[in-house]
Amino acid sequence: MFKKILIANRGEIAVRVIRACRELGITSVAVYSDVDRASLHVRKADEAYYIGPAAASESYLNIAEILDVARRSGAEAIHPGYGFLSENAKFAQACVDSGIKFIGPTAAAMEMMGSKTRARQRMEQAGVPFVPGTSRALESFDEAEQVAARIGYPVMLKAAAGGGGKGMRLVGSPDDLESALEAARSEAQRSFGDSEVYLEKYIVNPRHIEMQILGDEQGNCVWLGERECSIQRRHQKVLEESPSPLVDPDMRRRMGEIAVRVARAADYTNAGTVEFLSDQEKNFYFLEMNTRLQVEHPVTELITGLDLVHLQIRIASGEKLPFTQEQVQIRGHAMECRIYAEDPDNHYFPSPGKITLLLAPSGPGIRHDSGIYEGWTVPIDYDPLLAKLIGYGTDRKQTIGRLLRALNEYFVGGIKTNLSLFRRILNDPDFQAGNLDTGYLDRLLALSAGTASAPAGGSEIAAVAAGLFAVLEPIAPSSHGTSSHGGGDRNGTSSWKRTARAEGLRSG
């Protein structure tokens, strides 16, 4: 077993890995940028080293500096967390070249899964199911007609050179195919200078379901149950759960076996996740493999009783998987809420700043993996994920009840968070019934928020409490808004655009 591990990350996941190290008796080494000196992961680590300015490219993505700290501190292994360098094959290889163990798959496995075409070839050979259709351009209308008849309508036409919806046409019946094909081709020609078009089965109300796998370096590989991640906003996961309300034991076993087949085909080691698109009839198709620990790994930990980070470290240190597939016991239901610093009342704009008050939930069935504390200032430079609230219960209903209870206890003051979004989702009858697909959250948000949860007389109590606070705990007039509170002027804020997702923190 390793004696010392460097954690090449920040925020809640760095704290998560530091905790695992301490539980295993391993010395943890944190790294931090200019704006993270006071961050929780630095407080909690055994050692901590400065690695550069706020910009991630100069600190958390700075391979040379991180490897230098590993050497100076005597760390034998590096845990990359998620995001940042976690799926960077060059970094994995640089670790090997420096004689430091990278806690994750090999660079070769990462590269293979990172290349869509190579991954598809290899996976098709291994018999992994893809969304039915032509992977090459259609030769003729006849071919289109035959393929569409074989895979069944509705089908989707897509420009081979395309992207962004250009050259795409949804076709509901054979009658519409010919005109749609022509329209798609001419749009593709106009948009990309290339009229080639291919055809795929269109999945109605698809669900995003993924399977956790774990492989050791002796060739053993197991699956640990699925996670339903259909609750997404702008293609970013917001809430995940396991088991999926859709998946039955047979589907779980089939999906697990295919995930293990994917991992074996890539000579995959350590923790990984195989993502599938599923239709409502339980047909599922391979999307991609995430070659790292996922943000949402705790839901799998809660339903299996395993610690994935412990197991990652054990596997990287050369240990065999300590259990077989048959010994994995899935029990109960788990759900994760990703708590972001963003303003639900204002288009979910980011909301960094100082946390003036923090009431954290706890008690039965509640796990809180957090990277924040009261008095800390959330920096403007990184992903807005603050913490994860994870609930466990005997069944899905109890888990929802516990999360709603915990959300009621949870309070973050000074910055905006998306806590209220989870109250809304968890109280929604469709969500409670498990009627999920990747369009669910956009539909929910398109409805007006309603005022169902507002207690009667809340504003009266606020008025009285304002006076009571003034008497019982007066504050300096400069620090609260006795003057016009138009600072957060709604007119002033609009049209935020996500600029870059290099770290991919929110994707999973």
């Binding site: 704009f349 606020a462 009285v464 409490a465 509170h485 600072g487 804020t493 997702r501």
Partner: protein
């Protein structure tokens, strides 16, 4: 004690008086008897007729909110005996308007330099935080009088970034 309290823009008159360890209130003339203790900083426990409310006070650089359970209220409070008057800010609202940073960030572009004429809703500058860009728009039709934050500058929530008149 007497206060003028504004809750989500609506004004109330509040009188508070201690009575036998409890509080006797008049809110817009209506009597409310209640028990309140400050449990920890910024967290008040209020009991009214047996109902229990946990009220949290949230202070940001630009405003104050109170949370009653999961419901949030924008709050302004003034003591009528205080000498401060509202006229100053009211005048401000009519004339020059300030463009205020809604959250900490970094100015990545100034779209309307000083002396530019702008329409209401026209972008004045772009501020970035957490990999998202926020275009701050002019609150009124007019002329940008001053730009107070240069490109590349770090700004805090509540900072005045420009003035449009």
């Amino acid at each position: 004690m007497t206060y003028e309290v504004t809750i989500d823009g609506k004004s109330h008159r509040l009188e508070l008086e201690r009575a036998d360890g409890l509080w006797q209130c008049r809110l817009d003339g209506r009597q409310i008897r209640l028990d309140a203790v400050l449990t920890r900083r910024d967290v008040l426990s209020v009991l009214i007729d047996g109902k229990a409310y946990e009220v949290k006070r949230e202070r940001t650089p630009t405003d104050m909110h109170l949370w009653v359970g999961a419901e949030r209220f924008a709050v302004e409070l003034r003591d009528p005996r205080s000498l401060r008057s509202r006229k100053g800010s009211a005048a401000d609202e009519r004339g020059a308007k300030k463009l205020v940073a809604p959250m900490p960030g970094r100015v990545v572009r100034v779209l309307a330099p000083a002396q530019t004429e702008v329409e209401a809703g026209q972008g004045v500058m772009v501020v970035e935080a957490m990999k998202m860009q926020n275009e701050l728009k002019s609150p009124k039709k007019g002329v940008v009088q001053k730009v107070l934050a240069a490109e590349g500058a770090a700004v805090n929530a509540g900072d005045v970034l420009a003035i449009v008149e």
